[in-house]
Amino acid sequence: MRTLHKFHGGVHPPDHKTESSRLPIAAAPLPQRLIVPLRQHIGTPATPIVKVGDHVLKGQMIGAADDFISAAVHAPTSGIISAIEIHAVPHPSSLPDLCITIVSDGDERWIERQPLDYRTADPDAVRARLRDAGIVGLGGAVFPTHVKLSPGQQKIKTLILNGAECEPWITSDDLLMRERAAEIVAGIKIMAHLIQPEEVLIGIEDNKPEAIAAMQAACQSTGFEVVTVPVLYPSGGEKQLIKMLTGKEVPSGQRTVNIGVLCSNTGTAYTMHRAVDHGEPVISRIVTVTGNVTKPQNFEALLGTPLGELVQLAGGARPDTSHYLIGGPMMGFGLNNLDAPLTKATNCLIAVSPALFPPKPAAMPCIRCTQCAQACPCNLQPQELFWFSQSKNFDKARAYNLFDCIECGCCDYVCPSHIPLVSFFRFAKSEIATQDREIMAAEQAKQRFEFKQMREKRERAEKAARMAEKTAAARAAAAANPDDPVAAAKKAAIQAAVERAKAKKAEAVAALSPSPQPSPTRGEGANEKGACFDLPPSEQSTAPENNTEPS
């Protein structure tokens, strides 16, 4: 029996898991229209590689990963691309983003699916497969998995599979582990093959006995160990689960690989198995639809399914529904548009009613009771961070390790004054990120400005040098050949033009002495030639200056 460690703080919110975990996963029917956002992961959004009007097959790549930290997106079904435009997406900002809309043709015709034998293939080829299959961490952060599984020089000692699913109401990982344990384990084998850890642990909270039993059965004779962890929110946080299972703490500002641990979600392992062993990219996911709906259940739905259709599948929302939440009640965010599609990150959709989620009572001032500090799983001082964030003292907030906050909501949950602490931390983080972006932009502008100045200086110098060279060459030619007929004729023509202009000017002055005429040489077409001939002497007049400078 493995010794478990305790992380600091944590809370026990009512878990509300049984509402949606009683029924098995149901397959959602094919929607008519699928809206696939190009930004479904952390990093650079995918670049569209299809045009409006194109016919695509199920599983065909429609957005390519350009960058290292990026992942591809795929057509969830076969059909016609009807639009590539800005559309509502599930995001805390409620702002829309670029999406590809596919009108399904109902055939569900697949691309050619090619399995990859990861045991014999080059590890980099496996990682490229993961990127092109759009594999991202399905635990919530949606970080591209091929990047995570490229730890570089760091030796990974422990691979942890996160099946804790500590957030209330959500049961999608639970149901996946119950029903598809063997496939998850097949995915874990691919991960283990890529990073060669010394041990593989699967952490599951003890409120999921069926999932634990199923995973234990599937892990037999693999060497992977299923570890049951006690229920304590947020045990599913990456750093908290690592602390529980290994006793190690990830230092502030560092990543888990620095202490030789890698943590991944069980759902990610499942999609890896589908991508590598079956050649199927990520085009669907398990999503819990629960809360104030008639028939809460988990659905396997295609990515891009409008969330409103999922609510209908769960029997529809009851009349007293006020709004919807994406994710759980502790860390999720409000959704104001049910047209927004299902994305890789959407693990749960909750219909909210005032009866199920009573609104928070009005807040009272902070009394410095430090209950939040006792509940904080990151060992932070939320009461101090609140103070600094409220007064916009961002440097100080950063110094108090604001960026170690995982926004789990434990402090909000215990605060006797009902202060929305996490909102302040999110605000401060967002302000600091904006300031950092502005500093970067200023640095870029400065570089471009200095480069332009340097270039202009160089261009001036080059022009002067060219001019000097030209004059010198002309002079040398004139000196070498004093009675060149062409040059003499040109000189005579210039002289004649100058004489003509002078004569005309004198004539004009004599004839119209009172009315001041604008310089007559410009107005008449005949003299344009003269103006042209004026140019070389002016060049010559400036050139000697340049010539004399260096000598």
């Binding site: 900002s93 807040a363 471009r448 400005f449 480069f451």
Partner: protein, 177 residues
């Protein structure tokens, strides 16, 4: 004693040559605070000349319009002088970020704007349509007076999912009595 004085004097003399600080280090610090729009709204020909003037005490700290009161506050803190609001307005916040936009139907391709753009954010060639690269554009507005056909306008930058900023949380406080 005299020998010691001579030796120490030599060491100090050597150190003052060896570790000589080039230029005024304060200028660098001032310049780091400025937004680098190179717009000249302060009355100087760019951020560097303004930084030099501020460091030398020849310019006020509240002349940077794009930086707004935030920059003025940081400068006051750095230089240990009293904060002065930009334009005399206490609540002067910097304008929303704008970028220049060229109406491509009106543009005659004169390259006048390209020459004045301090950050090379305009692409185009003689008698061909010009366009603005929105990312490096600092919104300095120097191209607007340069355009002979008035085809450049400033448009505010729309928030998107990556540049979105959270609002200051406002919450209800319980009424007492």
């Amino acid at each position: 004693m005299i020998l010691l004085a001579v030796i120490l004097g030599a060491v100090l003399g050597y150190a003052s040559i060896k570790f000589r600080v080039e230029g005024n280090p304060l200028v660098e610090k001032v310049e780091a605070i400025l937004p680098q729009t190179q717009c000249g709204q302060c009355g100087f020909a760019g951020c560097r000349p303004y930084a030099e003037a501020v460091a030398a005490g020849e310019a006020e700290i509240n002349q940077c319009v794009p930086g707004g009161n935030n920059v003025a506050k940081h400068l006051a803190e750095l230089l240990g002088v009293e904060f002065k609001p930009v334009g005399g307005e206490e609540d002067f916040d910097h304008k929303p970020k704008m970028v220049a936009f060229i109406d491509e139907n009106t543009c005659i391709g004169c390259t006048a704007c390209i020459k004045v753009c301090p950050v090379d954010a305009i692409v185009g060639a003689t008698k061909l349509m010009h366009t603005i690269l929105a990312d490096p554009c600092t919104g300095c507005e120097l191209c607007i007076p340069a355009c002979p056909v008035d085809c450049i306008t400033m448009i505010p930058v729309k928030e998107n999912v990556t540049t979105w900023k959270r609002q200051f949380p406002i919450f209800e406080l319980k009424k007492v009595a």
